[in-house]
């Protein structure tokens, strides 16, 4: 039943008289009316008359409590009257404390917010450096026979590398295909069709092979690492490891890091080959280049330096993905929603850092060549 309210002007005192049931379905109407009255300059007092209210729930008490705060802070009088015994029982359930001001906690000052963000970033940076230091120690520990648990590296290698073969191959094949098409369109105008092989080969091996693979692995594996470790954190599994005297970094981080360090270059090599094959198909089928000519041109265009450059990048990208994924998983805050946030953060941060690292690599290698 909706609330019918009746405002009768008695000089500057307004009487609000809700009718019927006053509950969560219609308490908002009463609140809106009281809010308007609190803001009116010609009203110095308001009385809520409960004589025609049949039943009320705690939402009605909350509205009265908030209105009391509103009127008091505006320097106006606010009263209720004609409460039945049932109404009084409902009022008795609500504590006065939340009523005193009727105001929600004051919102944070922008400067305070900015300061807290800086402090949080600094704390996050410290935690990441801690993780980096721990990582160095667990990696060095491998040389002192503190190996990851038996079978853990293989298990992770299958999850990170073998299971990603299909998607990496498909996407890099399409990338090679697209690059060759785009280049063919331009180069054919100059009769330079054969250079499609150079463009596809060098682009794939130096840039797109490592980066595309890294982006796919970041989306697939980085998110999986963050989600898995985050869930383990929420379910106290990481505390359980610590309580057993086991180092979570050796048990969880090390196998993932070793596996991704081995798998990322392997996936990159495969991505390079498949991407070049995509270009080869376009070159031979669309540009009428002969297969031996295309292959010879690709071999001549590529140097071992190009391949090593791409593979070095892939190892750096692997560490970015592995460390960021582990960091986001270990430092989760909140429950299930925290896992979701950590997963998103792992992917976005990894991809951002991969692109930054790639631009640093490219700039450095170009400058070194020029030097």
């Amino acid at each position: 039943m909706s609330v019918a309210t009746d405002a009768i002007a008695v000089q500057s005192t307004q009487v609000v008289a809700p009718q019927g049931d006053l509950n969560v379905h219609n308490a908002a109407q009463l609140y809106e009316q009281l809010d308007v009255l609190a803001g009116r300059g010609d009203v110095s007092a308001v009385v809520v008359d409960f004589s025609q209210v049949r039943a009320m729930d705690s939402s009605a008490v909350a509205v009265v409590a908030l209105a009391k705060g509103l009127f008091e802070s505006a320097g106006k009088r606010f009263d209720v009257r004609s409460l039945s015994a049932e109404h009084r029982q409902t009022f008795a359930l609500m504590p006065m404390r939340s009523v005193a001001t009727g105001k929600v906690e004051a919102s944070e000052h922008p400067l305070e917010w900015a300061g807290q963000q800086v402090l949080a970033s600094w704390a996050g940076m410290q935690r990441f450096l801690d993780l980096l230091t721990d990582t160095i120690f667990v990696v060095l520990g491998m040389f002192r026979r503190r190996m990851p648990p038996k079978g853990a590296i293989t298990e992770q290698a299958v999850a990170i590398g073998v299971n990603a073969l299909g998607i990496v191959a498909l996407l890099t094949f399409l990338l090679g295909l697209i690059m060759a098409f785009q280049a063919a369109h331009q180069l054919r105008q100059f009769g330079a069709n054969i250079f499609v092989a150079n463009l596809v080969g060098i682009s794939m091996v130096r840039e797109f092979g490592p980066m595309m693979t890294a982006i796919i692995v970041a989306g697939r594996t980085g998110s999986a690492i963050a989600a898995e470790l985050g869930t383990m954190q929420v379910q106290e599994e990481i505390d359980a490891l610590r309580a057993m005297g086991l180092d979570p970094n050796r048990y969880l981080l090390l196998p993932r890091l070793v596996a991704i360090t081995l798998m990322q270059p392997a996936l990159t090599l495969m991505a390079n080959a498949v991407g070049i094959f995509g270009g080869f198909l376009i070159g031979t089928m669309y540009l009428d280049l002969s297969a031996p000519a295309y292959i010879n041109q690709t071999i001549e265009a590529l140097s071992m330096g190009d391949v090593l450059n791409g593979l070095t990048k892939s190892v750096v990208f692997a560490w970015i993905i592995g460390l960021v994924g582990c960091y986001c998983g270990f430092n989760i805050e909140g429950g299930a929603s925290g896992v979701g946030r950590a997963t998103t953060r792992a992917v976005v941060t990894s991809i951002f850092l991969i692109i930054v690292a790639d631009s640093i690599f490219t700039t450095a290698s170009t400058v070194l060549k020029m030097g």
Partner: protein
């Protein structure tokens, strides 16, 4: 002495939850940590088990200043303890067998056949023989807790810490778990530190009770002593006296009662 705390302030970050903790827990006893929600029981348990360094003070576990040890030494010390987490904290991707076998595989050089036999024995002790191949998601909450107890006890530790072992379990399963804990204590001479809310469990299990309230230890003694305590918090806990959240004179009714008929202005 299994554990001693001297002037310990326990908490998270820079926020203290418990202050001035001075406790000594005897060997071979079952000690219950009691207190209402938010009283700091779990914080204290984490501080005792090496998971949460104290903000101040000294924690001695089995005679060692735990937080002054290096990682390897602390790890070796923690192998002499076991921890039963509130929700089991079993590794979801590992079978029951692998969960229980983990401490043996990591901390001993026992052959797999001996490990398998030990796992089978411990599972039998908690009444779960035959569930070795199941994943934690394939067993009930009560079974998960018992598997977690088997894991916590697999190295026959000198002390087992239990975080609310019978919370959320039906009375029969809870009684079974309490009985198992009691048997561990009497058969193996283990010390147990049990955080719990359950009065029935406390009465059945506890040799000694430590009651927390208002950021501090408010009472230490046997169940009988504490149930006769003159301290309100302690008495209320043992006699299930409900709290008065809306204290007299502070409800909205108080304000409503003061209302007279309003007078019109001007």
């Amino acid at each position: 002495m299994v554990i001693s705390l001297e002037n310990v302030v326990a908490g998270y970050g820079k926020t203290p939850i418990l202050r001035d903790l001075n406790l000594e827990l005897e060997r071979g006893q079952i000690t219950a940590l009691l207190g209402g929600s938010g009283s700091g029981k779990s914080t204290l348990l984490k501080t005792m088990t090496g998971l949460l360094p104290p903000l101040e003070g000294t924690v001695r576990l089995l005679g060692h200043e735990m937080y002054r040890l290096d990682q390897a030494e602390r790890s070796a010390l923690l192998r002499r303890t076991g921890m039963l987490f509130q929700y089991g904290a079993l590794f979801g991707s590992r079978t029951v067998f692998d969960n229980i076998a983990l401490p043996l595989r990591e901390h001993t050089a026992l052959p797999e056949s001996v490990i398998a036999e030990m796992v089978r024995m411990k599972l039998a002790l908690v009444g779960l023989e035959g569930l070795e191949a199941r994943l934690p998601s394939e067993i009930s909450g009560g079974q998960r807790k018992r598997v977690a107890l088997a894991r916590a006890s697999i190295l026959d530790p000198e002390v087992i810490f239990c975080d609310e072992p019978s919370a959320g379990l039906d009375p029969i399963v809870a009684a079974g778990l309490d009985d198992t804990l009691r048997r561990f204590q009497s058969l193996f001479g283990m010390s147990l530190v049990v955080v719990t809310h359950e009065l029935e469990s406390i009465k059945f299990l506890a040799d000694r009770v430590i009651m927390l309230a208002g950021n501090a230890v408010v009472a230490v003694g046997t169940v009988e002593e504490l149930s006769k305590s003159a301290i309100k918090n302690v008495y209320d806990f043992f006699h299930r006296v409900p709290p008065d959240y809306v204290t007299a004179g502070s409800s909205m009714l108080e304000w409503v009662e003061k209302q007279g008929e309003p007078k019109a202005d001007g």
